[in-house]
Structure formats: C-alpha cells, structure tokens
C-alpha cells in the first residue's frame, strides 16, 4: 500500500470521527438506548391505560366526555401520587424551606432519599446479574446470594465486637460479599467443570440459601428475647452511616453501590481481565481461540456476581434493618434480572435502572395510600417495560425508528440452549 493511500485512510478516519457529532441524532434513534427510553414511556402509557380501565367511575360516567375526563383524572392522580411518593411534593418542599424547621425539611425531602435507599439493593443486585450476563452466564441465583450475604454480614455485625466503625463496616460488608461469592462460586465451578447449567444450579442454591437462613434464624442466630425468628441487632459499629436524622434513612450504602458500579465498569472495560470476561461472554469459541481460559473466567465471573449480590443483602441488614429477619428480601435478586436487561448489562445503565426501580417501588407506597391504586400496578408497569425491551421490533415499529445497521445481541441470554 502506498504511503499516500495510508494517509488518506487515516484522514478518512479523522473525518469519520468529526462526523460523529453530526450524525449523533440519527445514530441515537437507531441505538438501543432510544428503544429503552421509549419502552419506559410506552410502559407508563399502557400502565395509565390500565388504571383508567380499572377505575369503576369511568364505566358509570353519564357521558363519553365525562368518562374520558374521569379516566384522565384517575391517571393523573395515580402518576401524581407516584411522583410525590417517589420524589416529594414541590409545594411541601418550598413551604418547609421557608419555615426553616429542620424536621419539616427532612420530612419534605424524605421521599426522595427513601427512593435512593430503595434503589441501593437494586443497584448491587443488578450489577451482579449484569456482570453474569456480560460473561454469558445467567445468574438467577442472586436472591439466594443476597440471603447468604445478609446472613454473613449480620453474623459479622453481631459477633465481632469492640471494633471501630471504619474497620467493622468494611469487615461486615466483606463478609457479605464473601458469602455471596461462595454461593456463586459453586454453580460456577459446576458449570465450568461438568457443564451443569448455571440456571438450574443457581436456582437450587437459592432453595438451600432460603432454608439455611431459616434454620440459622430459628437456631443459633435467633434473638432469644424475641418470639419471632429474628436475629439480635448488629453492633452499632457495624451500621452503615446515616447522613441525616430520622425520618431520613439515607445511608452510605448508596455510595458504596455507586463505587461498585464504577469498579465493575473499570473491571469490564478497562482491564485485561474484563476483556477476557467479555470475550468469553460474547463468543466463547473465539475466546478459546485467543488462548483465554474459559473455566477460570466462568468461575471468577460467577463468584464476582455472587459477591455483588451478597453485598446487596449486606447493605440491607447493615444499612436499614440492623438485624436479619426471615424473608427480609422482597425478591431483589429476581427483579435484578429485569433490571440488568433494562440497563443493557452496562454498569451505568444498571445504576439508572436501579434508580428507576427504587423510585417506582417507593412511590408506589404513596400511590396506594393516596390514589388507592394497588402497589401491584408497579409490577405490571415493570412487565410492560420489559416486554417492550425484549421485543425492540415493537418499539421500532410504533415509533418508526430506523433499523440498526447491525443488530447486536443486546439482550443476550446465552446459556439458553446454545452457548
């Protein structure tokens, strides 16, 4: 190749780089991020429709116009309650700030901080599942890993005594991560060494985790002073730091989750280990061809995934409950699968999706109280959003988006059948 042609080529590349800004909008409309955003909007619209259709007054309205008004009113009230429950009531915030009363201000801002508190375990667990997906592994065992993580963290919180918080908190958090890691390591090892499917084995590990935690909570770890199977409270030194006084429960776990997201991002996209993990996930044949160790990477990925899920459990007991009760997790590990898919298995996407889930879950409580809309509507909303994300063709058709040039296996559930 001539030197001239070579420089031409690099010029082309330079030019292409500059063009990026110009064609950004066009590219963006093709991108899966756009599909995700539209999927969320479409989910909200369908959810609203469902609210309208299940409102009795809509059917008993005397005229069509009136019925329509009632329907829109119901939808408005629902989403207004969701918003005020999840973020706060603007008028109350203004009033509280004007009055200058500390308790009032804390009360006014509480919904927002409570959403962050609710989002934290979602972010940890979402990272866990997303990391697995990136390596082509479906860690459906996050829920069990959360229980084991909580169990280990509580044990470390109760039995390690006389430590300063700066040491005790990381130790307890680390114990949770280690417990989760062991729970992920086992199906990972079975997969790598025997080919046993990680989905089956991590489900089995879930059952073991649930029953094991019940056994321990009714046995050695049970608070003898209480009738129900609940552990004794952890040492104060093991509690995650709360930044404000009651009722705000916002604690340092949120920032630990963000740091973990950053670390996962660096691991996956900036290190040679992450390159191996992603290659194994994207094409294990090519990974083998390139001299990567599939067995090692599979085991490591499942262990790391388990560790992140374990931290979700540790976060809840060290940050919020300060003890461990039976069935303390409301299915974070399973919601995390949906969350990872919405977040496109990218750490930043997981953080955003985690915030969305936290906001929806927290807001839904308020919605149930003031608008009388059952909390389950949130599950239906999530299901709509997921269905749209899983079937991007629907969104692309409805909104007439351009087809991507090359359909990436964005939501890759390898391990199902193929692999």
């Amino acid at each position: 190749m001539s030197k001239e042609k070579l420089t031409n080529q690099t010029d082309d590349i330079q030019a292409a780089k500059k063009d990026v800004g110009k064609t950004f909008l066009e590219e963006f409309s093709k991108s899966s991020t756009m599909v995700t955003i539209l999927a969320i909007i479409s989910g909200l619209i369908l959810g609203g429709l469902l609210v309208a259709l299940t409102t009795e007054e809509v059917y008993t309205a005397p005229s069509l116009g009136q019925g329509l008004r009632v329907a829109l009113n119901a939808i408005w009230k629902t989403y207004e309650a969701l918003f005020t429950g999840g973020i706060g009531t603007p008028s109350k915030i203004v009033a509280a700030l004007q009055s200058g009363d500390a308790v009032d201000i804390r009360r006014a801002f509480n919904p927002f901080f409570e959403s962050l508190v609710a989002a934290t375990p979602y972010i940890f667990a979402g990272l866990a599942v997303a990391l697995g997906f990136q390596v082509g592994l479906f860690n459906i065992g996050a829920e069990g890993q959360i229980f084991i993580g909580a169990l280990c963290a509580v044990a470390a919180g109760i039995y390690l005594k006389g430590l300063p918080g700066i040491i005790h908190v990381p130790l307890a958090m680390g114990a949770g991560a280690l417990g989760g890691a062991i729970w992920g390591f086992i199906p990972g090892l079975l997969k790598a060494k025997t080919g046993a499917h990680e989905v089956i084995n991590s489900i089995m590990m879930n059952y073991i985790a649930f029953r094991l935690s019940e056994f321990i909570l009714t046995g050695v770890l049970k608070d003898p002073e209480r009738f129900v199977p609940v552990s004794a409270p952890i040492q104060e030194s093991a509690e995650l730091h709360r930044f404000f006084q009651a009722p705000i429960r916002f604690h340092s776990g949120f920032f630990i989750a963000l740091v973990m997201a950053l670390l996962v991002y660096i691991l996956l996209y900036k290190t040679t280990w992450g390159f191996e993990l992603r290659t194994v996930g994207a094409n294990s044949n090519a990974a083998r061809y390139a001299g990567m160790n599939i067995v090692f990477n599979t085991v490591i990925a499942m262990s790391l995934s388990g560790a992140l899920a374990g931290m979700a459990g540790a976060n809840e007991v060290l940050g919020i409950n300060h003890n461990l009760a039976v069935a303390f997790s409301s299915g974070y590990g399973f919601d995390a699968i949906a969350l990872a898919l919405i977040g496109k298995n990218h750490p930043l996407g997981v953080v955003l999706a985690g915030l969305l889930f936290g906001f929806l879950r927290n807001g839904a409580v308020q919605m149930q109280l003031t608008a009388g809309i059952p909390i389950d509507i949130i599950s239906i909303l999530q299901a709509f959003i997921l269905a749209f994300i899983a079937a991007p063709a629907i969104i692309r058709t409805i909104y007439r988006l351009k087809e991507p040039d090359f359909e990436e296996a964005a939501v890759k559930l390898s391990g199902w059948g193929g692999n």
């Binding site: 690099t10 290190t271 290659t279």
Partner: protein, 508 residues
Amino acid sequence: MEPVLELRGITKRFPGVLANDHIDLTLQKGEIHALLGENGAGKSTLMNILYGLYDPDEGDIFVKGKKLDVNSPSDAIAAGIGMVHQHFMLVPVFTVTENVMLGYEDLQPNRLLDRKKAAARIREISEQYHLEVDPDMYVKDLSVGAQQRVEIIKLLYREADIFILDEPTAVLTPQEVDELFTIMRRLVDKGKSIIFITHKLREVLEFSDRITVIRTGKVVGSAIPKEADQNSLAAMMVGREVSLNVNKKPAEPKETVLNVEDLVVLDELDQLAIDHISFEVKAGEILGIAGVQGNGQTELVRVLTGLAHPVDGKISLLGEDITDANPRKVTELGTAHIPEDRQKDGLVLNFPIIDNIALNTYYLEPNAKGIMMQQDSMLATAEDLIGKFDVRTPNAVTSVGSFSGGNQQKVIVAREFSRTIKMLIASQPTRGLDVGSIEYIHNRLIEKRDDGVAVLLVSTELDEVMQLSDRIAVMFDGKIVGVLPAAEATKEQIGLLMAGVVSPTSEV
C-alpha cells in the same frame, strides 16, 4: 421463441443499499444460464425475489409470457420455479421420501401420508433422470452429492420447469461436480431450464450456455462461453483487471518448523478423526492439504493450534513439543491461525475492530500495561492495520459483525500477520470470499512464505491448493493418502486421491 422466464427491471432497495438495480434477465427453454457475480453483488437477492422470499420495489416477473405475482415460495413453486439452496433444506432424520413429500404431501383416502405412492414416484423420477438415490435411506446417512440429488428430485417431484441452483458446486468433490453437470445437462435435454448461480469462472465457461454477470446490483454484461475467457469474465465481475494466476517464485524450503508424528485424534463424538498421520512443514514452503470437507482437516487444525489434543502421537514446533500445549502457548511460539469458521472462532462479531485486532495480544504490551488495557495504543495499532490491510470501515470502533465476509477476513489476516510469526495455519482462508479478496489473501500467503514462514494451507478448494502449494498432501478418511509435489500433480490424480482411490504411483 418465447422465453420461459423473464425478469424486467427488478429493483430492490435495502436501507442504505441498492441490492438490485433494474435487472433484466431472460431464461430460454432448455438452457443453462449462469448468473455470475461476487458475493454481495445481488445474485441471491434477485433469486430470493424470484422465489417469493422478497418483494421487489420495482419490476415484473413473467413466466412463459404471463406476468406472475410471487408473494411466497408457494406461488413460485406453483408457477414451476424450484430452488436448490446452497445450504440444503433437508431434515436429516427424515428419509428421502419424507423429505421429498414435505410440504407437498400425498395423502391416502384416510388422510394419512401415502409414503408408498411417493416412494414409487421418486423411484420413477430417479430412473428417468439417472438420479441414483434410495427413497428409504435417511438423509443423514447420504453423502453430500446424494443430498443434492434429493433436492433436485424434490423439485422434479413438484414438477418444476425452472431450476435455480445456488452455488451448487461449493460442497462437492471434482468428480461429484462432473456428475452434477451431467445431471444438469440431462435436465435441460428433457426440457427443463436452469439458472445456475456461481462465482467460479471455470465452471461457468465449461458448463453453461449463456452467462450474465452482475456487479453491485446491476447487470454489467453477458457473454457466451465460446466467446469469453476467465480473465474477461473476472474483470467484468470485479470491475478491474485481476490476476487469476498466482505468481510465485519456486519455494526455498529451509529448516523444519512443524513436525507431526503418528498423530491420532478423536473428534467430539469420540470417533476416530485422524488416523496415524505424519508430515512436516518447512520454513519457506506452503504445504497444502487437499480433501473433501469432513475427512479430518478440521480436527487436524484444532489439534495443531492447541484447541484440542491428540490421543496419540507427537507435534513439535521448532523443536519444542506442543502436543499438549494450549492455544496461548502455541500462539506465543509464533503460530498464526486463520480459522476455518471466521465468525465462530476468529472474531467476536459484536466487538469493534479495535478489540478484534487485539483479540490474542490484548494482555501484551503495548495493548496492556499490567492489567490495564491501553485503549490509545490499541486504537493506534488498529488504525495502522486498517490502513495497511485495506479494511473498509468508517472507523476503528465499528462492530465487525456489520462487515462483509471479505472485510472480516481482512481483519483476521491483519491481526495474525501483524505479529512476528514462524508458522501460519490457514484453514479455508478464502471460503465465501469474492474474487478480489481471494486474490488479496493469496498474495499475502505467498508473501509470508517468501518471508520464510512455514505455511500450512488447508482448503477444500482444489484450485486454490494447487495454485498456492509447493507440496500437496491429500487427506481422506483421516489419513494422508498421498503427498505430491505441486508442480507435478494433476487435478485428476488429486481428485482420485480425494475420493479415496489410491493410485499406486503416489508416494506416501
């Protein structure tokens, strides 16, 4: 005379691509009409339109003078158009009869399948056209050639008059190719008409009656075999002069690089795939391995590159025993590997070029410092190689999955050739590539040989092996049945060896 099939002004647009641009094509009764073009020229799109799989944006199809609306393959079949796809559409665990009946079932009065009637009809057809096949055999037990005959019988069973054969020779031995052309001739003698899609020039000149050449979606010329030659057709197809013959100096073999002794390998199903073979490859020579697909070549390459391990025998590379080495070790000793299946093994399709270029050196300087990847130097390397190896891409972060096959192969070649290598194992390096890319890859292989690299070329394309190799080893049924100096070998000789007929003169 009225043509049996006429396409007028067929146009098909895909987002960003004009796949077919006002294509006109006429097929006369009783002719073999070759449709010649590179991959991506629009041949398959055109045939898929004719077969009802795509809707054309413009243009009309006439069969025997009548305008035809094809909305689905069943419309095409009803109009007497049949297609044999490059990848056969057969159910391996069904018998020949069941496969032929599929979608065109004969029923007994009680609504059950009438297999007997169908089998009788198949016997009748196979006698009439000399298409030997046993209707009761399972398709999975048939040779590739026989499977192709089943596909043809399927069309005859449906009383097709117009046959579309998509790259029918790609999977056949030279002898099977000859047999196929005898069958094709017999079909046209009995009044059928054939459109024969290919990019192999020799076959077109030998076996067709008329040739239409397509390039970038347009008809760029037509010819009659008598008046055309390979060079003129290739130039028409590619749009520039191409050298079809590989120019190379005589080899200057030096020290032995790869030595294989008494190798025994089992395949994934624990069946004997390689049966005690020994050979060596010297620096500065190309050893070509010829053979029909599935005679142990795949397993041989896997074992040589560390992806699988032999049960017996010894492999050494530059004196070092690599019998049980892993791929990383083999790579680090200076082996480059162009894998047989570039999409499955050679590339991560949804990774950008930059990552694919670094696929097996990602952990070495300058791609990494410690455990941290160095994106900047990776990008610089990738951009440099994109230029040097003429990879056509807007930038270095485009996913290779959006590339054409030729471009994907260039990414692999760029990656493998950019390291210092002593041994090159190239498996089917030009499979599915267009003439221009083939020429390019061939020249690069010769270049490496002349640089003193030992080259092992595994290919089922006999022409390729004969053109490039200095010595040719023929594999059949897991054994090397003959090693011939390329200069003296004839096509017939190798063809017989490939079919398992060992000629007494060949030295083993």
